[in-house]
Amino acid sequence: MELSRGNSLRIFVVLVAMVIAGRLFYLQIIDSKYKEYANNNALRPIVLNPPRGEIYDRNGLFLAQSREAYDLMVIPRDVKPFDTLEMCRIIGVEKEEFVHQLKRAGRSSRRPVVLFKLLDKEVKMKFEEHTFPGFFTQYRTIRSYPFHTGGNILGYVGEVNDNTIKNDSYYKRGDYVGMTGIERAYETVLRGRKGVRMELVDVHGMPKGAYADGLYDTLAVPGVSITSTIDARLQLLGEELMEGKVGSIVAIEPKTGEILMMVSSPTYNPDELIGRDRSRNYLKLLREPRRPLYNRAVMASYPPGSTFKLSTGLIGLQEGVLVPSQRYVCNSGYYVGRGVKCHYHDSPLDLRYSIQTSCNTYYCYVFRNILDNKAYGDVKVGFDVWRDYLLSMGFGRRLDSDFSGELKGNLPTTEFYDRVYNGRWNSLTAISLSIGQGEIGVTPLQLANFTATIANRGYYKIPHIIKSIEGGQIDSRFSVPNYTNIDPKHYQVIAEGMYRAVNVEGTAVRAAVKGLDICGKTGTAENGRGRDHSTFACFAPYKDPKIAMSVYVEHGGFGATVAMPIASLLMEQYLTDTITRPELVEYVKRMIIDYPQYDK
C-alpha cells in the first residue's frame, strides 16, 4: 500500500494535532500543579488574627488581657513625598531607623509591607490625623497584663521562631505564640483560630475583590478565655513580701491540687516582653544576675532541709521500723560515723516532739532503721525501698503538672553512691539524706505538693494552674487523687506534729495565727554556696485544710526567721483576707539578704 503525498501530509497533520492534544490533556487534566500555581498567582490569603483568650484569676480578676495594637504598613509604590520628621515624631522612631526600614520595603512593590510593628492605639489615632499616602495601619491584638507581675507563671507571648513554624503548620512567620508559663501551656486554647479572606490580585499585586464571593473565607475564631487557679491578691502579696529576696513560694489548695500562688523571685513584668521593646527587655532580663527568667518554683532544685524529716518519719512508720511513741535519746547530735549535730532540746523524745523541735538525731535513727532493715539484708535494697516511697510522694520526678518547664529535682540512686564510693557505702554514708541534706534536691512545687499530701492525710492531686476553660474541660488527670505508698493512717501523726510545732511548743510557734490552726515545719538547708536556705512547709487549717504552702528563701538563714513569717502572713491573707500584723509585713519587707552568689 503506497500512500499518496497528500494523504501522508494529512497523517502528519493529524499526528501533530494529537501531540498538541496530548500535551493539552496532560497540562489541563493530569497535572494539577498548574491550578495551584494559578492560585498562588491570583489569590492572596489575608489572614485575620483572632483576639487571644483572656486569663482570669480564680476570683475573676484579669491576669492577661488582649488589647488592640496596630502595625504600620506601607505600599511602597503609592508613597508620595511626605513629612518624614512628623511621621517619625508620631510613631516615635529615629529618622535614620525610619528611612532604613522604608528602604528595606523596596520601591516598586504594590504589596503591603510591615514597616513597624505593634504601635499603640494612641499612635494610630495621632497617625490618622495626618494623611500619609501609601501608609496605613493594620489591626492586631497584643497582650497586656494588668497586674504587671507574675511573668514566670503567666509567661509571655512572642513571635514564633523558625523551629515552631517547621513543626506546626498553623504558624506562619510573624505570628505570635505563647513562649512560657500559662501562655505556652494553654497556647492551643488561648490562640483561637485564624481566619482567612481570599482576595484576588492582579499581576501587580493590586487587590481585585473577593475570590468566589467569599465562599472559601473563614472567620477568625477568638481564643477561649481561661480561669487560672491563681489568687491574684495572694500572688501580689507573695511577690511583695519576696521583693529583694531570691526564692520561691508555691501554694496549693490540697483538696483540688489547684496552684493558688506561684512566686519565683525575682520576678518580672510580662508587659515588658510584649510590643516593640520586647527584644531589648528580654536581653536585659536575660543578663540580670539574679536570673528573673528562671522559674525557681518548678525548676530550682534545693536541698529540702528539715522539712524532709516528715517524709523520713512517714517511711519509718510505713516500714514498721518506727511507731509514733518510739523515743530516742538526743545528746545534741548523732555520733556514729561522721555524725550529725543537733541543737539543744528535751530528750528523750517521741515522733511528735521530734517534729516540733526538729531533732536531727531522731531521724538519723529512723533513717538507718529503714535502710538497714534486716528484712532486706542489704543497704542497697533498703535504699531502693526508701527511694520508691519518695518517688510515690512526688520527689525526684516531674509531677506532670500543666506547667511547662517543670524539672525533676534530684533524688540520688544506689548507682550514684556506688559510683562515688566505689560500691563501698552504707546507711551512714547517706545519713544526711534523713534530714534533707546532702545530694537531695527538691523543687518548691514538689515540697508544696508533699505538704498538700500531708494536709490531705495521704493523697495529692496533680498541681495545676488552670481552673476552667470556657466551654471546655481541663485534663482529667488533675481530678484523680494520687495515693502515696504510705498508708493514709500514718499521716495523722505527722500532721499532729506539725500542728504542735506551731501551736503548742516548737520551732514554728511564731507562725501561729489565732484561730487558723496553722501546721508547719521549718527547714534550714545547708548548701554549698553560702548562708543556709530558709524554708518553711505548712498547711492550714489543721482540720479540713484549705491551703498548703512551701516557702523558700535562698540564703535566708533559719527557716523560722524568714520563710516562716512570710508563710504565716500569706496563710492569714488567704484564709481571712486580712492582715492583722502590719508590723510583721514591715519586718519581712525590711529584711535585707545579701546575695554575693548572684551580685558581683
Binding site: 498538541i20 497540562l27 494559578a38 484576588l200 481585585k208
Partner: protein, 483 residues
C-alpha cells in the same frame, strides 16, 4: 452540502456558486472565537463593551468586517485574475518589505511595520500570500520540473527572498514561516530525502540532549536500517545483518576483556560496525543496490551531527537562545527570566481544567498574568476560560480548516491552484503548530500569530485573503468540473 451540490451550483450560477460553505463557517467560527478571546484577555472591571472600537476587541471586530468585505470582493473576481497578477503582487510585497527599511517602524524589536496614516501594516503577512501565488504561477508554468536543480533553485529564490528580507528586519519568527512551503513541495513530489534529513535533524537535535551518545548511535543505526529496508525491501537480510552486528559486538567485547581492556558499549559498537562493513559491501554488490552508499553516508552524517550539536549549542547559539532551548526541554527552569511568558501561559492553560473557568472568569487572563496575551499568547485565554474542551475544539477547527484547504488543492485542475492551496494549508499548519506549541511549552517562543485569533489587523486581513482566494479558486474548480 451546498458546495458539493453540483446541480445547485450550476443552476444558481451566482457569485456564491461553488463556495465551500464548510470552510466559510469554520472561518467565521474561528474569527468570532478570536474576538471573544481578545475581549477576555483585555477584560477588567473598567472594560467597555466588546464592541467599543477603542478596545482591541472592537478594533479586531472592525478588521473582521473589512476582511469579510474583502472576502466577498475576492469571490467576485475571476479566478484567472489571481494567476495573472501573481508576479506583480509578489513584486509589490517585496517592494513593500524593502520600503520598511526606509519608512518602517519598530514594534517589539521587529522593524517590520509600515504606517499609512493611522494604520500600521506588517507587509510580511501579505508576503506569505503573494509568495504562495508566485510559487503557484512559477510551478504551474511550462518547463517546471521539480526534479531539476534549476527549477528548484528558482523556487528557493521565490521563497528565500522575502524570508531573507524579513530576517534582516529582525523578525526571525515570520521568516521561519516561509519554510512552511516545504509542506506544499512535499505534495508536489519534492524528494523524500529532504524530509527524511529534516526529520532526522530535528529528532537528533532534541534527543542529543536526553539520550546517552552510545544509545543514540544504536537508535540511529536502527533507523537507517529501517529506512533502507523501506526502500529496498529484503527484510531477511537486514535481520541477519543486525544480528551479526550484535554478535560481533559481544565477541569484540569479550575479546577485549581477555586482553584486559574493558571496552565501552560505544567502542564495541563502532568496532562491530567496522568489522561487519564487508557484509554491507557484499549485500550492495550482490543486489546491485547503489543507494546503499547513500545510506552509509546518511548514517555517518547523522553520527557527526549528533557530535556537533553540543558544539553548536555551546559555541554558536547566544545565551538567551540557549536558555530558551534548555527551558523548553525542561532541563532548566527559569520562570523569572527566559521562561516567564511560557510559564505563565502554561499556568493559565493548565489551570483551565476540563471545562475551563468560564468566559471572563479566568483569573490569570483577567489579571494580566500572561504577557502578550491578546496577540501571540491568545491561546492561553482559550485554555483557561474554555478548558480542555474549548482548546480541543479550536484545535479541531484548525485541523478541519487545513484539511478543507488541502481538499481544495486536490480538486484543482491546474498546478497553480493546487500549489497555492497547499501553500496556504502549509502556512496555516505552521502557524497553528508553532503558536499553540509555544503556549503549551512544546516549541521555543517564536512570535508568530495564531491565524484568525491573534489581535492584529494585518494578520487577520492577510489570512482571510489567503483563505478566500483559495475558496474562489475552488469555486472555479467546481464550476469547471461541471462544464
Amino acid at each position: 452540502m451546498l458546495s458539493d451540490s453540483g446541480n445547485y451550483v450550476r443552476r444558481e450560477g451566482a457569485i456564491f456558486a461553488g463556495v465551500d460553505w464548510w470552510t466559510v463557517w469554520i472561518y467565521l467560527a474561528l474569527v468570532l472565537f478570536g474576538i471573544i478571546s481578545i475581549y477576555a484577555s483585555i477584560y477588567n472591571e473598567h472594560s467597555h463593551s466588546i464592541f467599543a472600537l477603542s478596545q482591541k476587541s472592537g478594533s479586531q471586530m472592525m478588521w473582521a468586517g473589512i476582511s469579510i468585505v474583502l472576502g466577498v470582493v475576492i469571490l467576485l473576481v475571476d479566478s484567472k485574475y489571481y494567476h495573472y497578477i501573481a508576479y506583480q503582487a509578489y513584486a509589490a510585497t517585496i517592494l513593500l518589505l524593502l520600503l520598511t527599511f526606509v519608512f518602517g517602524r519598530t514594534i517589539n524589536g521587529a522593524h517590520s511595520w509600515i504606517s499609512f496614516g493611522p494604520v500600521s501594516v506588517q507587509p510580511v503577512e501579505f508576503a506569505k500570500l503573494t509568495t504562495a501565488l508566485a510559487l503557484g504561477k512559477y510551478m504551474g508554468g511550462y518547463g517546471f520540473n521539480i526534479a531539476r536543480m534549476k527549477s528548484l533553485s528558482r523556487v528557493g529564490l521565490i521563497v528565500g527572498l522575502p524570508a531573507l528580507i524579513v530576517c534582516a528586519q529582525n523578525d526571525t519568527g515570520s521568516a521561519m514561516v516561509f519554510s512552511s512551503f516545504l509542506f506544499m513541495l512535499c505534495r508536489e513530489g519534492f524528494t523524500a530525502w529532504v524530509y527524511l534529513v529534516l526529520g532526522m535533524i530535528m529528532f537528533l537535535s532534541v534527543s542529543s540532549f536526553f539520550v546517552e551518545p552510545a544509545a543514540l548511535y544504536v537508535v540511529i543505526f536502527l533507523i537507517v536500517v529501517a529506512i533502507e529496508t523501506h526502500y529496498n525491501g529484503m527484510m531477511k537480510q537486514k535481520v541477519i545483518y543486525v544480528a551479526s552486528v550484535i554478535m560481533a559486538m559481544l565477541v569484540i567485547f569479550f575479546v577485549g576483556l581477555v586482553f584486559g581492556r574493558f571496552l565501552s558499549m560505544m567502542n564495541a559498537f563502532m568496532l562491530a560496525l567496522t568489522a561487519t562493513l564487508p557484509l554491507v559491501a557484499v549485500y550492495a554488490v550482490r543486489h546491485k543496490l547503489r543507494n546503499v552508499v547513500v545510506f552509509v553516508i546518511f548514517f555517518i552524517a547523522s553520527l557527526m551531527f549528533v557530535t556537533s550539536v553540543d558544539y553548536v549549542f555551546d559555541n554558536v547559539l547566544r545565551p538567551h537562545q540557549q536558555h530558551r532551548i534548555l527551558d523548553l526541554l525542561g532541563l532548566e527552569n527559569d520562570v523569572k527570566g527566559a521562561g516567564y511568558n511560557v510559564n505563565q501561559s502554561k499556568i493559565a492553560i493548565g489551570s483551565g481544567g476540563v471545562l475551563g473557568k468560564g468566559f471572563l472568569q479566568g483569573t490569570q487572563t483577567k489579571f494580566d498574568f500572561v504577557p502578550e496575551q491578546s496577540t501571540d499568547f491568545i491561546f492561553s485565554t482559550v485554555g483557561e476560560e474554555w478548558g480542555f474542551v474549548g482548546s480541543i475544539a479550536v484545535l479541531a477547527l484548525f485541523v478541519a480548516l487545513i484539511f478543507r484547504v488541502m481538499r481544495m488543492g486536490d480538486r484543482q485542475r491546474d498546478t497553480f491552484g493546487r500549489v497555492y492551496c497547499y501553500g496556504v494549508a502549509g502556512v496555516f499548519f505552521f502557524h497553528v503548530l508553532v503558536n499553540i506549541g509555544m503556549t503549551i511549552g512544546l516549541i521555543p517562543v517564536i512570535g508568530i500569530p495564531l491565524p484568525f485569533f491573534s489581535y492584529g489587523g494585518s494578520s487577520l486581513v492577510a489570512f482571510s485573503m489567503m483563505l478566500f482566494i483559495a475558496i474562489r479558486l475552488n469555486c472555479n474548480a467546481q464550476y469547471q468540473n461541471w462544464q
